[in-house]
């Protein structure tokens, strides 16, 4: 008897030791969960409007959106679309401004119309009322001179804030340098262009943008599909399709040689550096997955090369990243960027460009590629449910193969180290970049001039200027 007890005690002691977890072992599981994508219900109206409905009854709310994929750049006066976005939804034939807005707010709803469609979010018990309001705005909108003038003067006021805002000027210059001032991606609003906008421009823009051809309406949330279908048919069935105008876009400037494009920001305590170029990358291109992974390894996150070098190693910046946007109606772009203190502007530029060279010249490590793949696959699995509607939209909008998302993980997995290098060479092209730098000339120019790149100077409107003019400013 005694003996037996002894044995049991000993056993317990053993278990006790076993229960002490070994912290030096990283408890990693490589078996990712299966992906869950709910089923949507899709149909089209005779006028061409494509509809996607996803029932989800977890919360008593509904989200809804309209996406108008009609060509951009139809308007002659820059700013027309921005003004349209502000005034659209203010007033209709049946509801004066005050009443319309009060009705929306009363329900606790949000409803934002713009030149590209609308977004709505509301409590599900208000579905019929919201549908009435939405269809009122779409088919009975009233544009008044008074509202137009109000928005014009507001926009002109906002423009005044521009010259000192490094991010606003940065994005304006990026677009001008990459696409040119005549391209719809490169034009920007000026006081003059806003002043020239008339009521008839607004009406014309609205009529041209709001066309059920190439349009998508999605609904998600606490709805019953059958009911929803009836409602949508009732409200959108009468929407008349019009032929779509073709737009010819100007050619984008070619970058023959890497150079620095400098803009003086006399008040800046930090320089904004961005190496940019246009890229021709369609989502359905066989290169797509390799480019995305190459970009991740270069600058996609906290364990990417730019971040590890410029932040974690050198302490130059709060963050340095890169991104690639594929083309849609026009060319996409690539950008690798950082904001750094004035004193290290030149050194940071050197490191940033060095990393772009490096990823194009030398194969990445298997480990880096594995990390990048896991990151994308993991995020895909985790986010798939939330992105269900996006997947359907993307497949149609970007003309992707039907099984694109089914093969998504497989396509990421099949990318090789060689593919990544080829993609980096083809799309990042370190010898064909614009290095856009906005900073305080008196403190950063000296260092930049020593770098082996031609220096070009621009004003805040994107016009070429000279160094002597900058130093006088």
């Amino acid at each position: 008897m005694q003996r037996k007890i002894y044995v049991i005690v000993l056993l317990c002691a053993c278990l006790g030791i076993k229960a002490q977890v070994d912290r030096s072992i990283r408890p990693v599981s490589k078996k990712m969960p299966a992906i869950k994508i709910p089923k949507t219900q899709n149909f089209s109206l005779k006028n061409g409007l494509k509809i996607i409905v996803l029932e989800d009854h977890k919360l008593p709310k509904i989200s809804m959106g309209l996406i108008l994929d009609n060509p951009i750049g139809l308007e002659k006066k820059t700013g027309t679309m921005e003004i349209l976005s502000e005034v659209l939804g203010n007033e209709t034939k049946s509801m004066k401004k005050e009443i319309l807005q009060e009705n929306i707010d009363f329900m606790g709803s949000s409803l934002n119309f713009s030149s590209g469609g609308f977004d709505a979010s509301f409590l599900s018990r208000y579905l019929p009322e919201m549908m009435d309001i939405i269809s009122d705005i779409m088919f009975k909108s009233v544009f008044s001179k008074e509202e137009l003038e109000k928005e014009k003067s507001k926009t002109i006021e906002y423009l005044k804030a521009y010259p000192k805002d490094i991010d606003a000027i940065g994005s304006r210059l990026k677009n001008v340098l990459l696409y040119g001032k005549n391209h719809p991606y490169g034009v920007f609003i000026t006081k003059k262009s806003i002043k020239s906008i008339q009521l008839k421009d607004l009406k014309k823009a609205f009529a041209e943008r709001y066309n059920p051809k190439n349009a998508y309406l999605w609904v998600k949330g606490d709805v019953n599909f059958k009911e929803m279908k009836t409602l949508l048919k009732k409200h959108f069935g009468k929407w008349q399709a019009k032929p779509i105008k073709k737009v010819k876009y100007p050619k984008v400037p070619k970058i023959t040689k890497t150079s620095i494009a400098f803009v003086d920001m006399p008040e800046a305590v930090q320089s904004s550096i961005a190496a940019i170029r246009t890229v021709h990358l369609k989502r359905k291109s066989p290169d797509y997955f390799a480019v995305i992974l190459a970009n991740y390894i270069l600058g996609g996150g906290g364990n990417s090369r730019l971040f590890l070098n410029l932040r974690e190693d050198k302490g130059y910046t709060y963050g340095s990243y890169s991104n690639v946007s594929p083309d849609f109606q026009n060319l996409g772009s690539f950008s690798a960027f950082a904001k750094v203190r004035n004193a290290v502007t030149d050194s940071a530029t050197v490191e940033l460009i060095k990393e772009i060279h490096l990823i194009s010249q030398k194969p990445v490590s298997e480990e880096e590629l594995d990390i990048a793949k896991s990151k994308y696959i993991g995020n895909f699995i985790m986010g798939a449910k939330k992105k269900t509607i996006d997947f359907i939209l993307n497949t149609d909008r970007f003309d992707l193969p039907k099984n694109y998302y089914k093969n998504f993980i497989k396509n990421f997995q099949s990318v090789t180290v060689k593919d990544v290098q080829r993609a980096a060479q083809k799309y990042f092209q370190p010898n064909h970049l614009k290095i856009l730098i906005l900073g305080k000339a008196s403190e950063v120019l000296k260092g930049l001039e020593k770098l082996p790149y031609p220096m070009l100077y621009y004003d805040k409107q994107g016009n070429p200027t000279s160094k002597s003019k900058i130093s006088k400013m």
Binding site: S121, G315, I371
Partner: protein, 444 residues
């Protein structure tokens, strides 16, 4: 419209009972660490988060920025996680992570595919048990934090707003400084000071662990026990109480910012702790003032009189006090004083008359919608659970929020406006572009 209201009220009643209850389980570990588990199997991922009850208000006035600095330092590695490896481990296992710091708490989290709950728990327990704090890490992160400050504040139009408000509204309370802190303080800090701060505040009895998402409870409990319960308890934290004397005379202040062109008006009041019922009422008043195009301030100031380009009410709600901020970005040539007059008039009305039944119902609907939106994402629920425990010492508070808003009456709205929003309790701050020395007309 009447029908709509009746139907609305009826359904309102129905939805309260169903749908929105957040179910969770909670318990304490032997070392005092609080654990909250919330399951949701809709998508295959799991959140592991730890909220430490330490923020900038716990800092020594000569060492501001410490709490936020730790948010950087605690990614530098642990005994079993090498320097620069943190992000790599997260990404290579398909996850994502982040952290942020407020005046009251610091929040760290990972989101992993459901298979890596154990990994998330291990990482957070490593961070709590034995982070490696070295001079090298301190030096690098010191530079990084300075860049963060430049990017977010010094180089940012209107970047000084928060700082200017805080030091005017608070005189004694540590809320008078901002989480990013003073760089000179960080420069002067020794390695030992950082280690001491860590030892004092980063202890299990000052933290709450939340696991939310797609996981099995038995697994979670087992691994939490293995990784966290063995971590030694820290000393009891003694929290100083700071009492501000009431503001009885209007404060006026002017701040210049060379990064802006358009002046702004900031009107601010000191408000009570986040946990106080009055705070919920003030939140509702903020919505009345400036939520949506039908709100009184938007209608008057932006639309009718075109005195401002935008107007917003921002309640900054904290554990011990808060700031109630009305911000208007002026239209050119419109005097800030005139905007202030309209704000005062509208608040006066609110203090004198009851708001209409219709407006009251609008607020009820707005807050129901807001509540549903916050609980829509799992990340949102995880944060709210941790916050309810940290602020209220009562996690169940998450399910009471909507009830509180529903119980607010029109009379109460009037009374609370009277109590806190009087001109003599306010800060009037003009936020102006830097005065031009020469040739002020020359505009580019």
């Amino acid at each position: 419209m009447k029908n709509l209201i009746l139907r609305g009220l009826f359904l309102l009643f129905l939805t309260t009972i169903s749908a929105q209850k957040v179910v969770f389980e909670e318990y304490d570990l032997k070392n005092g660490m609080h654990v909250i588990l919330h399951q949701n199997h809709e998508a295959p991922f799991v959140i592991t988060s730890v909220m430490y009850h330490v923020g900038s208000k716990n800092e020594n006035p000569n060492r501001t920025g410490f709490a936020h600095f730790f948010e950087h330092l605690l990614f530098e590695g642990t005994k079993n996680i090498k320097r620069k490896e943190w992000f790599k481990i997260v990404s290579s296992n398909g996850g994502k992570n982040n952290a942020y710091t407020t005046q009251d708490y610091t929040y760290y989290y990972e989101v992993f595919p459901a298979n890596n709950l154990k990994l998330g728990l291990w990482m957070e327990s490593e961070r709590l048990l034995h982070p490696i704090i070295t001079q090298e890490g301190v030096d690098t992160q010191n530079e990084v934090v300075k860049e963060e400050k430049r990017m977010r504040f010094d180089n940012q139009p209107y970047g000084k707003i928060f700082e200017s408000l805080a030091k005017n509204i608070f005189k004694k309370h540590p809320y008078r400084w901002v989480p990013i802190g003073k760089m000179a303080h960080l420069d002067a800090a020794t390695l030992k000071e950082f280690k001491d701060f860590n030892k004092k505040f980063y202890v299990p009895n000052n933290a709450v662990l939340v696991v939310a998402g797609d996981f099995k409870k038995q697994d979670a409990k087992k691994w939490i026990k293995e990784y966290f319960e063995t971590i030694p308890k820290g000393k009891k934290i003694i929290r100083k109480k700071y009492k501000e004397s009431p503001i009885t005379k209007a404060i006026k202040s002017v701040v210049y910012d060379e990064k802006i062109q358009i002046p702004a008006l900031l009107k601010a009041y000191r408000i009570p702790a986040f946990t106080e019922r009055d705070n919920a009422v003030l939140f509702m008043i903020g919505s009345y003032l400036s939520d949506g195009k039908s709100s009184v301030l938007y209608k008057k100031i932006v639309d009718e009189k075109q005195m401002a380009l935008q107007v917003q009410t921002i309640p900054i709600q904290n554990e011990e006090y808060g700031m109630y901020v009305i911000l208007a970005i002026a239209s050119l040539d419109k005097k800030l004083k005139n905007i202030d007059n309209v704000i005062n008039q509208e608040i006066k009305k609110l203090q004198t008359d009851l708001i209409s039944e219709r407006v009251f119902e609008k607020l009820q609907n707005t807050f129901e919608k807001k509540f549903i939106d916050t609980n829509e994402s799992l990340e949102g629920i995880a944060t709210t659970l941790a916050l309810c425990f940290t602020y209220f010492k009562n996690t169940e508070q998450i399910n009471k929020t909507l009830k509180i808003y529903r119980s607010i009456t029109r009379e109460e709205i009037r009374a609370v406006a009277k109590k806190y929003l009087n001109p003599n309790q306010s800060l009037y701050l003009e936020y102006l572009p830097k005065k031009k020395k020469l040739n002020p007309k020359k505009e580019k």
